[in-house]
Symmetry: C2
Subunit: 230 residues, 2 copies
């Protein structure tokens, strides 16, 4: 007799792990499970909501609940502010503004925003340091047409990322992870060798389809993104 939704979820998970329920198997209806567990249907619904969210089961009206046929690994990454990531690791944070200028967007930036024409944006290049060593190199474009106040910010003291997070929420965000060889310039800034494999995180954000910023964050050699999945 389980009367909390977490126990019901765990019991269903156990049946999957113990192979009592195989991929594709159909579960009883919520109503029947409620009777089995001796609880209200709402409670079963809450457990099933969680299992559906984690990808364990698929639910369809009239079709019922089934164990996912082709399970996928669903991973969630929280990408923090770089300063907090470094400080949380117990290291000393450092920040260095490399350049700041208004330029016309090159094609790859415009296309990332989905713009049909190039436009002027604020281009900011900066370096984040952990214990005085290069950690992440940041190449950022900011649409000052959308956020004009950013032109008055002293970006040599505070990273554009932190200012934007406090002052410019976004409605949409696209994230890309990839690998690239270090250019001589990147190698120099990151204390790496030319052609070293570097891990790159790109993010583009919009507010109601108006561009806000696009950033390419290039990590120093050895960087890993780690997470636990369900």
């Amino acid at each position: 007799m389980s009367n909390n939704w977490g126990e019901i979820r765990d019991e269903i998970k156990r049946r999957v792990l113990d192979r009592e329920l195989l991929p594709g198997a159909k579960l009883p209806s919520d109503q029947e499970l409620a009777e089995e567990f001796g609880c209200a249907r709402t409670t079963v619904q809450r457990a099933m909501q969680d299992l559906a969210l984690s990808g364990t089961v698929n639910r369809r009206r009239k079709g019922g609940t089934r164990i996912t046929l082709h399970p996928i690994t669903r991973t969630t990454f929280d990408i923090p502010i770089t300063r907090l990531e470094i400080e949380t690791a117990g290291k000393e944070y450092g920040y260095y503004l490399v350049s700041r200028e208004i330029l016309v967007t090159p094609p790859y930036v415009a296309s990332s925003f989905g713009l049909s024409k190039p436009m002027e944006m604020l281009h900011v290049v900066a370096l984040h340091l952990a214990d005085k060593k290069p950690y992440i190199f940041e190449d950022r474009w900011i649409a000052h047409a959308t956020t004009p106040e950013v032109l008055d910010v002293d970006l040599s003291r505070e990273s554009a990322n932190e200012w934007l997070i406090r002052n410019r929420p976004y409605s949409d965000c696209e994230v890309r992870f990839l690998a690239k060889n270090a250019t001589p310039h990147e190698a120099e800034l990151l204390a790496a060798d030319t052609d070293d494999a570097l891990f790159v995180m790109e993010r583009t954000t919009w507010i109601n389809s108006a561009p806000i910023t696009m950033v390419r964050a290039i990590a120093a050699p050895g960087y890993q993104l780690v997470t636990k999945a369900s």
Copy 2:
């Protein structure tokens, strides 16, 4: 007067995007919001559950609900079966078993599993092809002590990944993303050049702390992982 939870969620989100609610701002209690929106408290609770899950707000008993002070980008990746990923992209899937042998785990594998001592595992190397071109190179260790049936599977016809997914659910999974330079061997298999930057996805899975498998999937040059975030 909103009486469905999605509308309430969207209205709160709108207030955040329009900067009517700033990071750190305290929201009225669920009870008060229920009166404002003219609905039951349960409905507000459902909306808030969603906002908390997406990282928009923080909720604490007695402390109330606040707009997240340091918003983070929370991204969710679904890592599918490679065959389905290729077929979904409308390409022809190919699979080639490179090697299969029982070996003692090298230190990096044992430590990834959290094992104190090395143990014998099945080591499988395979290549996934998209339209006859190398797509992902897979280097996998399978704990046949946990899953002895895998020794009888013909891994030249079916990838170990697909067999495991159908036959060996996991309770825990750790995922790592990183970049590495191609070794001569990897370069040859992936039709790349030695030292090309390659994107690597590593996954280690357990069932109730017993090791199942660890895989290092190395993608051909140009591979990107893309997702939309909230």
